[in-house]
């Protein structure tokens, strides 16, 4: 379980999170929504300790991580897998080396076992036999899938997905959404946090939806609660209209 207690994050004079109270249940897929600049990526970076709150507390699995030291954060981050918006694969490493990276760093597995594990995970994301390729030889969709393989290769407890389907064609988007669901189903204890703009598909895979607006939670609940909400901000966001109560900066 992940909990934000009155978390405020200020960059310069810009208040991105404003006393945010957030609850992300264990073993579920939680979708975080909000327009650009609402602090969705900032929120997941707080969960991993890549950013620290200006005020407030962040708890992960009941443990207050707010004041962790660098060493404690290093240990804390071993629980996570993260798929970045642009996959963030290491250009200088082959696909196989990218996927093996967490194994090489945090396990004592031999090279043969690491290669076998990497190949298995690459097969799961529909990309067998590409270990020797380099990221620049991959399409955007393939990069995302390799990024997903790298995120789940070391059996994390929590997987964070930062806009996993942005810029994908509908088929690859559906494939990635299905993979997120499969990964979650395979491990019932796995907590998944997804940031997405692909509303329809994201609502199909989510167990829990949180919408951020003005640095706070505008709505938290099931996808059905989101779909049937009468809140004008939610309606406007769902309809994708510029006219409405939602402020644009």
């Amino acid at each position: 379980m992940i909990e934000f207690q009155k978390v405020t994050k200020i960059f310069g004079s810009f208040r991105v999170l404003d006393e945010l109270d957030l609850h992300i249940p264990k073993g579920k897929i939680t979708l975080i929504l909000g327009k650009s600049g609402e602090g969705k990526s900032v929120t997941i970076k707080h969960i991993m300790g890549l950013l620290h709150p200006t005020m407030g507390r962040v708890l992960v699995d009941g443990e207050d991580i707010t004041d962790f030291s660098d060493e404690q954060f290093q240990e804390h981050r071993k629980k996570f897998g993260m798929l970045f918006q642009n996959a963030a694969l290491f250009d200088g490493l082959s696909v196989g080396e990218n996927v093996m990276f967490p194994l090489r760093e945090h396990t004592k597995m031999g090279l043969k076992d690491m290669r076998a594990r990497a190949e298995k995970v690459l097969e799961e994301v529909g990309l067998p036999g590409i270990q020797r390729k380099y990221p620049d030889a991959l399409s955007t969709g393939e990069k995302k899938r390799v990024g997903l393989a790298r995120a789940i290769v070391n059996h994390p407890k929590i997987v964070l997905y930062d806009e996993p389907t942005t810029g994908m064609d509908p088929l690859v988007s559906e494939m990635i959404d299905n993979l997120i669901m499969e990964v979650s189903k395979r491990n019932l204890d796995l907590t998944s946090v997804v940031i997405s703009h692909d509303l329809k598909a994201a609502l199909d895979i989510a167990d829990n939806v949180v919408m951020l607006y003005k640095g706070r939670v505008q709505l938290a609940g099931s996808p059905e609660a989101f779909r049937s909400s009468k809140d004008p901000v939610i309606r406007q966001f769902f309809a994708g209209k510029v006219d409405g109560p939602m402020e644009f900066f």
Binding site: F84, A88, F101, E105
Partner: protein, 269 residues
């Protein structure tokens, strides 16, 4: 009255501006020292990334060999021509080899090799790390519980410390070989006299003083190149800015540190 107020405002703005510059400098220096402290701490801490160290030694050292040889040869030849021409006026051309060797060992080799490595390897290091930074690869590394300083900076720092003295030694050697060619073919100096004078005047202490500089320069190049890379921001433009700033700062740092080391070597002789 209005003019007095304008002058007062201008003075206040100037003092405030100067204050900002000074505090930014102190802040930047403080952050850099913290960074250096972290690098030094992580050198002796596991995991030791031997594979990455060898990769960087190959990149910084082995792959720079050709330009070091080429530059060493031409610098040695040019300096010998200049020195030989001047020494001929005083009838002291037999001192050519010794003068060239001393200049190369103490000053020219470490400084020129430092410049070359800053321009070739230092710039490449900053460009690579800053590209990783703006493409979220550094964030990804941190997200996978891998310290970027341990993974990226420590191997480059150690590789530069090891390889710079070796490259400087190579620079000395080719520079002196070029000097010998000039002495024999242009100034008609006897080979025996060339080496005899060199052996009398140039000591191992001279060579060692150049190698000391090389070790320090290696550290400076790696630390500045990595630091500018890790603090880059703002897409492709940010990468370009970080690389330019890094190279300028490396060259300035090498020149100023060279002066300080030379001064200390002379004072503590």
């Amino acid at each position: 009255m209005a003019v007095t107020r304008s002058i007062q405002n201008l003075m206040i703005q100037s003092i405030t501006g100067l204050g900002h510059v000074v505090t930014d400098l102190i802040e930047g220096l403080g952050e850099f020292l913290i960074f250096v402290g972290k690098v030094l701490r992580l050198i002796v801490r596991r995991p030791f990334r031997v594979r990455l160290l060898f990769q960087q030694m190959q990149f910084i050292g082995y792959e720079s060999t050709f330009i070091i040889l080429l530059c060493g040869f031409f610098i040695g030849a040019a300096v010998s021509l200049q020195v030989g021409t001047i020494f001929t006026i005083f009838g002291a051309q037999s001192m050519l080899g010794a003068a060239n060797a001393k200049a190369l060992a103490r000053e020219l080799s470490p400084l020129m090799a430092g410049f070359l490595i800053a321009g070739r390897a230092g710039a490449a290091i900053t460009a690579e790390i800053s590209t990783m930074k703006v493409n979220e690869q550094i964030d990804a590394m941190e997200a996978m519980a891998v310290d970027p300083i341990s993974y990226l900076v420590v191997p480059r720092f150690l590789a530069a410390l090891i390889m710079l003295p070796l490259l400087v030694a190579l620079f000395n050697l080719t520079g002196q070989a070029a000097s010998l060619m000039i002495a024999l073919n242009i100034f008609d100096i006897d080979q025996g006299i060339f080496f005899d004078k060199m052996a009398r005047i140039v000591s191992w202490k001279d060579v060692w003083s150049g190698l000391q500089k090389a070790i320090v320069f290696g550290g400076i190049i790696a630390l500045l190149a990595c630091r500018y890379g890790l603090t880059a921001s703002g897409g492709a433009k940010g990468v370009g800015r970080a690389t330019t700033n890094s190279v300028v700062m490396m060259l300035l740092a090498l020149l100023s540190v060279d002066f300080i080391i030379t001064y200390l070597q002379i004072v503590w002789k």
